[in-house]
Symmetry: C2
Subunit: 256 residues, 2 copies
């Protein structure tokens, strides 16, 4: 690569979250960084886009780093669309999203705003990675993640990714010397067992908080959940062709 790579950085926790500030610092060592990130937290937004409201997008300076930054009123997927179509002069060499405060392993990839930004970049033909740390704490320690994130990003810049594939990287909450390395994994088969916490407002009206607990149905040792529980950083290659190709033949037997 002759010139420095152009790196688009985004996230779903909002542009001031410690996770994205960490990611920006790592990327500043690798290339020219442009940040386009939500102006407020967008967790659980899945692959939402803004179709019935307007979007605002403005330059902003948050620290004294060399990166250029924009804050956007939309979802993570909106931020990527905005960056590629309105802000950047050329297609970025890579898009990195995160570092998310909390896991996006197993089925959480479906609900994740962090991963939807990476997937949106992938749809636009840009190699992309979502990074998540298994620590919901706002003051999480992102330091032990840094060398893994740098290494994985450099590998993607060097080797590229095939069309239609982005990476979902999750990092265990461990001090550096407890981390065992990196494992390539498949998405564990799990789901959330919901708990609706039913309450009454001061005005007597019932309302709910959605919470729940994650259930892993998958005993495989090749899954992201297994890797994370055993001290490894997990990488799952993620595709956005959702076709269950192996089911087409079976459906063709139906009497339709």
């Amino acid at each position: 690569m002759q010139e420095k790579p152009l790196i688009l950085v985004t996230n779903d926790d909002g542009i001031t979250a410690p996770g994205i500030r960490s990611l920006i610092r790592i990327m500043n060592k690798i290339g020219d960084v442009v940040v386009v990130a939500p102006d407020s937290p967008q967790s659980g937004m899945g692959h939402a886009i803004t179709v019935d409201n307007v979007l605002h997008c403005n330059p902003i300076t948050i620290d004294d780093g060399p990166q250029i930054e924009y804050t956007c009123s939309g979802t993570p997927a909106d931020c990527v669309k905005m960056a590629v179509n309105e802000i950047l002069n050329r297609k970025p060499d890579i898009c990195v999203s995160g570092i998310n405060h909390g896991a996006n392993s197993s089925i959480n990839v479906i609900y994740s705003g962090t991963m939807s930004a990476a997937v949106e970049a992938g749809i636009e033909g840009i190699p992309a990675i979502g990074f998540s740390l298994l620590d919901f704490n706002y003051q999480a320690d992102f330091k032990p993640s840094e060398s893994f994130i740098e290494k994985i990003t450099l590998n993607v810049l060097l080797d590229g990714l095939p069309e239609g594939i982005v990476l979902n990287v999750n990092i265990p909450k461990l001090v550096k010397d407890k981390m065992k390395g990196i494992k390539i994994c498949r998405q564990a088969n799990g789901f959330w067992k919901e708990i609706f916490d039913k309450r009454k407002s001061p005005f007597g009206k019932e309302y709910y908080w959605l919470s729940g607990e994650f259930v892993n149905k998958d005993k495989g040792e090749d899954t992201d959940i297994w890797a994370l529980e055993n001290g490894y950083v997990s990488i799952v290659p993620v595709q956005f062709d959702l076709t269950a190709h192996h089911m087409i033949q079976k459906l063709n037997e139906w009497d339709l």
Copy 2:
């Protein structure tokens, strides 16, 4: 099946949209219907869930049909979680979502609230189908869709669907005798070429509307786009294990 099937109906256009009213009428012929649907339009919400706000859910009567209905303040995925965990006494035999006013073929499956409801039901272990008509018009004619929707629903009730798979059904905007039948398809490889319409508010502040045009990169005659353009109802089996399994071996060659 000895008792009538229990059918959960939802959508993303909101509980009063003509599309879901049509779907309810069709389902009333097949089984006992419970509707849990958003109280306002949720188009483009992807697989969003409500994690940082409360949810409201209330019984409602909209017409004189035999169905039981609830309206919910959340996203389509929230509605399914609420139905399964708080409203229904037993797991429904099927969940149908739609009829969406507009296409959810090709990459639109990723952005679709209609399909996110079906996927959420699939994650909860319920056979599920999303139905969409290629007509954005609020007053679209859903009549020609009815027999196809009934037939596909009855097939799923009879044969079930394997774990991890839901159906994405799109219906062309045609009069009944122009419809050629049903085709089992794969998701066409396409994307949206965004157009950001930049405007100024009455107060001089710049803002954007996100719009765009769909680009189909895929010449295959086995895709949903091809089927729809040629007068067929398309069915794509959709999975929510997003792992690109074929990429795992390649990634294992990386120096990580």
